[in-house]
Amino acid sequence: EADIYQTPRYLVIGTGKKITLECSQTMGHDKMYWYQQDPGMELHLIHYSYGVNSTEKGDLSSESTVSRIRTEHFPLTLESARPSHTSQYLCASSPQINRNSPLHFGNGTRLTVT
């Protein structure tokens, strides 16, 4: 059973606010990912990390930033939220040893920017 946790589950915030979406996993996985998913649409990769102190941008351009100071923690930050950032954000992880390992997903944070 995958143990990956995202907080908050829901967030409604005004334009211009700084927000941080939290993601933690207890499986010791080296690789972590952030995906963005709009209702009925594909998941798009916005950030990923190979391990501690590693962060890379994904296929979908995003104004967010990430950090990876500890293996288990991969927070995503928006310095100034805008209505266009309204979406669901999904965090995932996978072990390093096998590149075919499936991703384990958290339950997501649904962000609404008013």
Binding site: K31, G40, E42, L43, Y48, L90, R99, N100, P102, G108
Partner: protein
Amino acid sequence: EDQVTQSPEALRLQEGESSSLNCSYTVSGLRGLFWYRQDPGKGPEFLFTLYSAGEEKEKERLKATLTKKESFLHITAPKPEDSATYLCAVQAAAEENNAGNMLTFGGGTRLMVKP
């Protein structure tokens, strides 16, 4: 560019009415094709990985098959609890040398099974 197209977008079935979901893909060398199930308000849950044409995998009422151009998820005698969105994703062999596990997702098929 890798592409994944799932059809139909939505499918309504009566309980016990078997059917299939389609996932068509174009990829520069397939390393793996993944099926996930996603319930409303939750993250995707892994179902299967298929690696090569002709491969099949089964789990309860679900059976996934793979050809060189598409994958099918067959649902036999579905129950209401099978209602969910089913996502297909591909991993290209070209990704093997960088991050690995980089997936391209389709838009999903929303399955509704009525009792």
